[in-house]
């Protein structure tokens, strides 16, 4: 600990241990190992009038690093859900699941090195699996710390009708309304049959129309993408008869849109490109595609046709989309209600990488 440590840094040491507090130029960084320790940090911050934040956003606030909270807390192989601490990276989580024949499934490849908590705190419009949806949709519960130090845990059930989905007040709030300490995520059992197929179309619009038609007909591949050259590729899995039927449907639709089978085409593999470059996202309504968005590898994705978006993997990561004014006012009011002393710092998405390491 350096000499210019805040006068209250001893209290942080007491809360999380000397090895887990570092100070520099009057700022403190803590690495809590459990929610109770984080709770102590928040309480101390409140008592000394300091704010709490994550990464660069912390500024003069106490900077919380979740690196020690990186454990799988519970793997329920019967229900196919895993509960893990916020600081675990997707790579680490995928490794743990892989040992049991399980996969995450819906995590975009660009997020693999990032943490569970970071992606839930600041989810971006992102790649989605037609079957599994976006990553946030696979989250079924969270544990979090509110600004007043209250620990909350949402009830775990496949679906509920007990009021608003309270998880969604914290998820996406970028840490400003609560710090997520753990989350429960749906996982997939690796299926015995996994098939890939690809079809080359004369034009990009024909390939996009084919992709849309597959979704309209009820096809739900694990992944579906279209390249700028008009190649539609998909991954399917499940029982053999059904996987074959999904490929047959895609082939029929592709043919009707002028597509021809591409032998040995590389599969799209949402799940198997761990270190793909970041992506930019643009929504596309129906079949209208702005040419400027067309890049090298476009992924037509969406939980449903209405949610389809186009991913251009050659572009830089997208910035957080600003909240619409009406929503921003609601969020500000909720922030004032839950955090009247403005104790939790807003956590921009650009800090995700910082949190992951």
């Amino acid at each position: 600990m350096s000499g210019d440590a805040p006068f209250w840094s001893d209290r942080l040491v007491h809360a999380v241990g000397a090895a887990n507090v570092s100070t520099h130029a009057g700022r403190a960084r803590v690495r809590p190992g459990a929610p109770a320790e984080l709770c102590d940090v928040v309480r101390i911050a409140g008592e000394v009038g300091a704010r709490v934040g994550v990464g660069a956003a912390a500024g003069d606030a106490i900077d919380v690093d979740f690196a020690r909270m990186c454990n799988v807390l519970h793997l329920d192989e019967t229900s196919l859900v895993v509960t893990a601490q916020a600081g675990i990276t997707f790579d680490a989580l995928e490794r743990a699941l892989g040992e049991r024949g399980l996969v995450l499934g819906a995590v975009p490849s660009w997020a693999r090195g990032r943490t569970l908590g970071a992606l839930l705190a600041a989810p971006r419009p992102s790649e989605a699996s037609p079957r599994l949806g976006r990553f946030v949709q696979t989250c079924v519960g969270i544990q979090a710390l509110l600004p007043d130090g209250t620990e909350i845990a949402t009830r775990l059930a496949p679906r509920k009708a007990t009021g608003p989905d309270l998880m969604h007040a914290i998820v996406g709030s970028r840490g400003a309304l609560g710090l997520i300490t753990a989350a429960t995520i749906r996982v997939q059992r690796r299926q015995d049959v996994q098939q890939s197929a690809a079809f080359a179309h004369p034009t990009l619009p024909q390939a996009l129309s084919a992709a849309r038609a597959i979704l309209v007909r009820g096809g739900r591949p694990v992944d579906l993408s279209v390249s700028a050259a008009g190649v539609l590729a998909l991954d399917v899995d499940g029982p053999e008869a059904f996987a074959a039927a999904e490929v047959a449907l895609a082939a029929e639709v592709a043919r009707a849109h002028g597509g021809e089978p591409v032998p040995h085409a590389p599969p799209p593999r949402l799940m198997s490109r761990p270190h793909e470059r970041g992506v930019a996202l643009e929504r596309v309504d129906g079949e209208v595609l702005a040419p400027a968005l067309v890049g090298d590898a476009i992924r037509v994705v969406g939980w449903h046709v209405a949610g389809a978006c186009v991913v251009d993997s050659a572009r830089a990561p997208a910035a957080d989309p600003p909240a619409p004014p009406a929503t921003a006012a609601l969020l500000a009011a909720l922030k004032k209600r839950l955090d009247p002393q403005d104790r939790f710092v807003d956590w921009p998405a650009r800090d995700h990488d910082r949190v992951a390491h």
Partner: protein, 521 residues
């Protein structure tokens, strides 16, 4: 009928100027809007108390702007507002327990747009479910949302209560379908929010049962109308084997539209005399339908006399009958009936059904053919419309729909049965299944000595049942909502997270006028 409060007189005058001819304070309207289909209220009706909490007034807005104006006026005067769809709720969610103004949305029933390219429909909240589905069908689409109340519930009501349809396993619950939501908050301010935003404000409103605002329209995902429906019956020796089969099916990534596994008692009553008729024949009644027809003075029962006697005994000696049923039924007949249905594109549906058959046989199921599936499909709405006869006959019947993850599902089943068995005749089916868990739909019935005794028994049953649910760690509602009946259990359901709900309430309804006294707030 209580007289109008002074504050309400002033408000009603303002509303009448705003919406001439669409405001009522007449006793018949106030009585008509004093209740929903909460069975406890129906016990009161049979006991001669039809409207213990009438609203002061009823208004029928025709636009979101009018809803906004109503809420602004009510907020100024501090008058409670109760949003109302078609009154089919079974938890007392629309009872105006603190008086005030009921806002009936049924005149806001337009289908604003069906976007065939995007696969979405934008619809006003007050449209009846059946009308919406019919209109979508006419254009080649389906919402895929078929609650048993579809003929007497509205689109807005579905959203307000996080409704589930019978085909939720394929199409999702209503909250899964929302793409965009327009609502008026408790200050009268208008919001339009996109689903999937961060945070997802739409998911704050869906399920809030009018406590945070009034949903006036929504854009939802629609699907192509299915080309083919394949529904079959399967027999499993025990509940546990049936549940395991469903879990395997879903975790193999198959997507049946519907799975319904009836427990031994429900299966026993479910089977009509045409049990083994695979070719169709007479429609098969559901267990509840048969039960209801037994109780109805003019009802025609298709079940045998000995079954009638058993059910009559169940009303007076529920614990004994429940115990006998769980002890002997597994050995006495054909086990548990499972209905599994696939629908959609012809090729995919046929392939899915074939793959499912392999899985179900591997899990120990016996194929009963299409007969039970088709009969269920044809008669799946029949039950809900016969309930009032039960109450006329001095008994009561209700349902408890709870849910949990697969690892705790049988524990939940046993815990609720054990808790309720001493108090009521109880049976169950498992439906609304997902890869990570499933809902259990308990049906219970009992009789009291007069309305007061029946109400006490009714409350005791719910207390015992929901206490068992929370002990297991399951959720107290999968799709009926909370309203008034489950409100006391909300603190246990959400724990410390209730504070987040209170914060949302404070922000969106600072005057506390939106459906006050509900949801445990």
């Amino acid at each position: 009928m209580p007289p109008l409060a002074a504050r309400t007189h002033e408000l009603v005058g303002e509303l009448e100027r705003m919406m001439p001819g669409r405001v009522s304070t007449t006793p018949p309207d106030r009585v008509a809007y004093a209740r929903d289909l909460w069975p406890r209220g129906l016990i009161g009706v049979s006991g001669g108390s039809p409207a213990p909490h009438p609203p002061d007034a009823v208004v029928w807005p025709t636009s979101t702007e009018e809803v906004s104006a109503i809420v602004r006026a009510a907020a100024r005067s501090g008058t409670p507002i109760v949003p109302f769809g078609a009154g089919s709720g079974v938890c007392g969610g629309t009872l105006p327990i603190r008086g005030g103004v009921v806002v009936d949305l049924k005149r806001m029933r337009s289908i604003v747009e069906v976007d065939a390219i995007a696969g979405t429909a934008t619809v006003e909240a007050g449209i009846l479910g059946e009308h919406l589905e019919h209109e979508l069908n006419r254009r080649g689409f389906t919402l895929g949302h078929f609650p048993s109340s579809i003929m007497c519930s509205t689109f807005g009501g579905w959203l307000a209560a996080r409704s589930a349809g019978q085909f939720s396993t394929k199409y999702g619950k209503i909250e899964d379908m929302v793409r965009r939501l327009t609502f008026v908050d408790g200050r009268g301010e208008l919001h339009t929010v996109d689903a999937g935003a961060a945070p997802d404000v739409a998911q704050w409103l869906v399920g809030s049962e009018g406590t945070l605002g009034i949903i006036t329209r929504a854009t939802v995902t629609v699907c192509k109308k299915p080309e083919l429906q394949l529904y079959r019956g399967w027999a499993f020796p025990r509940v546990a084997a049936g549940c395991e089969a469903i879990r395997r099916l879903l975790q193999r990534n198959l997507r049946p539209a519907c799975v319904r596994l009836y427990d031994e008692l429900d299966s026993f009553l479910h089977r009509g005399e045409k049990d083994h008729d695979r070719g169709g024949g007479e429609p098969e009644s559901s267990a509840l339908e048969q039960y209801l027809s037994l109780l109805a003075p003019t009802g025609k029962s298709v079940i045998g006399e000995w079954k009638k006697r058993a059910i009559a005994l169940a009303l007076t000696r529920p614990e004994l009958v429940n115990k006998l049923a769980s002890t002997f039924l597994p050995y006495a007949q054909n086990g548990c009936l499972l209905i599994v249905g696939f629908e959609g594109d012809r090729g995919l549906t046929e392939a899915e059904a074939r793959a499912a058959a392999v899985e179900l046989e591997r899990a120990g199921g016996r194929d009963l053919g299409e007969g039970p599936g088709q009969r269920w499909l044809q008669h799946r709405y029949a039950v809900s419309f016969r309930m009032s006869k039960v109450f006329d006959a001095g008994a009561f019947v209700d349902t408890m729909e709870v849910a949990t993850t697969w690892d705790k599902l049988l524990e939940l089943y046993r815990a609720v049965r054990a808790a309720v068995s001493p108090l009521a005749f109880i049976m169950a089916h498992f439906s609304h299944a997902y890869a990570d868990g499933c809902s259990i739909y308990f049906t219970f019935a009992a009789r009291g000595n007069g309305a007061a005794d029946a109400e006490k028994k009714y409350d005791d049953i719910w207390r015992a049942g929901l206490a068992a649910v929370t002990r297991v760690g399951a959720t107290i509602s999968h799709h009926h909502g909370v309203g008034l009946s489950k409100a006391p259990f909300m603190p246990e359901e959400h724990g410390a997270a209730m504070e987040v709900y209170r914060a949302l309430k404070d922000v969106l309804d600072p005057h506390g006028v939106m459906n006050p006294g509900k949801m445990g707030l």
